[in-house]
């Protein structure tokens, strides 16, 4: 497993601001907006990882980020599809984690 840094200080502050502001918004916004803020934060994180050239599976990251960025917007006009995507998204990440675990053995 690589110990390479894939998020620099500036980007970490960006994520920090996003997460703290999102926590504040969760007080007054519809509950499912919180899911959107989290998946959007995941997209930002993947953007940083891709930008800083981690040793992970770049093709998987690019593909998953594209899927997240496409389907997160469904929250606004196709909530059923959006929730369906959220239910499957962790499976995608788990598959990649398993793949990484297998290849580091």
């Amino acid at each position: 497993m690589s110990e390479r840094t894939v998020v620099n200080e500036e980007e970490a502050y960006e994520l920090l601001a996003h997460l703290v502001a999102s926590a504040e918004l969760c007080i007054r916004e519809p509950y499912y907006y919180g899911t959107f803020r989290l998946i959007d934060a995941a997209s930002k994180l993947m953007g940083f990882m891709l930008q800083n050239g981690g040793d992970g599976d770049r093709a998987w990251l690019e593909s998953f980020k594209h899927e997240v960025d496409t389907k997160k917007e469904w929250m606004m006009w196709d909530r059923e599809g959006y929730f369906e995507f959220l239910r499957s998204a962790t499976g995608s990440v788990a598959g990649e984690l398993k793949h990484r675990g297998d290849s580091s053995v």
Binding site: Y13, E14, A17, H18, V20, A21, S22, E24, L25, E29, Y33, R37, D40, T70, K71, E73, W74, W77, D78, E80, G81
Partner: protein, 199 residues
Amino acid sequence: MREADPVEPPVISPQQKADIVLDVIRTRRVVRRYTDEPVADEQIRRVLEAGRWATTGGNRRIHRFLVTRDPKTIRLIKLISPGMLGAPTAVILICLDHEAIEREQTQEGHSSGLVDVGTQAMNMMVAAHALGLGSCPVTSFSQSGMSTLLELPPTASPLLMVLLGHPAPHRRVMRHGAKTRLTIEDLTYWEHYGRKTPQ
């Protein structure tokens, strides 16, 4: 040298005027992807003018607009605004002015102040679309963060941002089987709440 004849504005019928206005309203969409091209100050002024002409409860005018065009400031605003998904080149922040509220003897929390923010924003977005610009309303930002970043006085409460920019090409991807948008019939009752037809 003979002066050119003054150009008469084209005369259009009420029907043509209605068609133009309704077409602008109908074809406007929220735009969340923008190019880097700055929005001209003249265009921003015309958008502000549209906001100025919006109806306000009792003509009280208890709001103020703050325009930001500086890219660095806009980037900072984006950091504390999770609802700001794109990178606009101009931002109009609509604030509630508590000094004006006091002057107009409006009670704090009166809902017309919030309604007025909506009408102003809508006028601005329709005008932006008519000018060929993209726009997006955003309320999902940290109000304390916004006040700090923009050094707002304690008498100003930031309520809504209208993002402006030149639209970047983008194709919306829809899920197969996704519900289509609501129709007038879905939204409207006639004479009695629940009656679907105007008979």
